[in-house]
């Protein structure tokens, strides 16, 4: 896919192809404190979501939330425990909290896992222009959290 612009330009054809269409930011809309549509229409997997919840470089949810993941020790308690969260909130409400918790609580410590990277300041070079979790990963976690009844 990356070679295509070069070949086309050589042929005198100017084409606008995004550098890496996979990284395009999925525009979302909040409606009554809920993001009802899945990001970019993607479908999540609960199995992947559970893994993302405890991986330190990914969601790292256990840093602040007690969760039903017994094989990992020392869950944090800065945020509320997430047992049963799937019964308390709809998928849309969970999605909003993951994308940017600051919409609900401006004083939250929780990172905006799908906040628009353009709104951040002083980001380390290797993370510039990237969200902490990809759209697919957000959907995976939303589905996983939905299973915690």
């Amino acid at each position: 896919m990356k070679k295509l612009p070069c070949i086309l330009t050589a042929l005198g054809i100017l084409v606008a192809i995004p550098a890496d269409a996979g990284d395009k930011y999925c525009v979302w809309k909040a409606d009554n404190l809920s993001i009802n549509e899945s990001l970019c229409g993607l479908t999540g997997s609960a199995e992947r979501g559970r893994k993302l919840a405890y991986e330190r470089k990914k969601g790292n949810c256990l840093a602040c939330h007690k969760m039903p993941i017994p094989e990992e020790q020392f869950h944090g308690n800065i945020g509320p425990p997430l047992d049963g969260v799937g019964s308390r909130y709809s998928a849309g409400q969970l999605r909003l909290r993951l994308v940017d918790m600051k919409i609900l609580n401006p004083m939250t410590l929780m990172p905006g896992f799908y906040k628009n990277p353009d709104d951040l300041i002083r980001v380390m070079k290797q993370f510039q222009g990237k969200t902490p979790l990809t759209a697919q990963e957000i959907e995976d976690v939303v589905v996983y959290l939905g299973t915690l009844k």
Binding site: I78, K102, T108, L120, R122, K125, Q128, K130
Partner: protein, 217 residues
């Protein structure tokens, strides 16, 4: 561990600093020439006031900057990088002399705009994880992030020996360590923003005993 001078790993930096204190500089003078053997003539109450406002420079000066200014101007030595081992050990030695003195940083008068700037930085979110100092250290200290307990982020023990990296750390390097955690770009130690931040962070500890060298995670 911190209270026992023989067990405190930071004390070796104090000893190293003591040696540098008595070493003659390029022009033959040593710190001891003016400040007495082992810093005996230094006023420890004044050490506890750093960072202080400098009329000459029109901005605050940290203890390390003051020590470094003497190092170059009065001893004729080559400049050293901020928080590099030579000047850091001197800072630890000098601040250790004031151990037990209460932190007493000015926040009003000429210092006020810099204190306000430090306070603003403390409350400004940064990095990919979009966090600011106040969230952990003012809103949530005492709660646990994984197995660590969030602290108040006090600096009365700095420069401190960190168990995490097995050496003495200056305060600006510690700021960088925090910023790295929420994926924010580091700033060069000694820059004006970090000096303002140091004014604010030190002032949060006004009234606490200086514990340098602290032993911290």
């Amino acid at each position: 561990m911190q209270d026992d001078d023989f067990m405190n790993p930071g004390m070796s930096a104090v000893e190293a600093g003591a040696e540098v204190f008595s070493e003659p500089g390029q022009n033959g003078k040593s710190c001891s020439s003016c400040h007495g053997d082992g810093g005996g003539k230094l006023n420890t109450g004044n050490i506890a006031k750093y960072p202080i406002y400098s009329d000459k420079l029109g901005k605050p000066v940290t203890l390390q900057q003051q020590v470094h200014a003497c190092w170059t101007d009065n001893l004729g030595n080559e400049p050293l990088k901020y928080d590099s081992s030579g000047v850091l050990e001197l800072e630890v030695f000098v601040r250790n002399l004031a151990r037990g003195q209460k932190v007493n940083v000015q926040t009003d008068g000429a210092m006020q705009p810099f204190w306000e700037k430090g306070k603003e930085i403390y409350h400004t979110r940064a990095g990919q994880l979009d966090m600011s100092c106040n969230l952990c250290h003012i809103n949530y200290p005492g709660l646990k992030i994984r197995a660590n307990t969030l602290s108040q982020g006090q600096s009365n023990g700095y420069p401190a020996y960190r168990l995490k990296n097995g050496k003495i750390n200056g305060l600006h390097s510690r700021f960088n360590g925090c910023y790295k955690q929420f994926r924010a770009e580091k700033l060069p130690p000694g820059n004006d923003d970090y000096v303002a931040l140091e004014v604010f962070v030190h002032s949060r500890g006004n009234g606490l005993d200086i514990e340098t060298p602290g032993v911290r995670f």
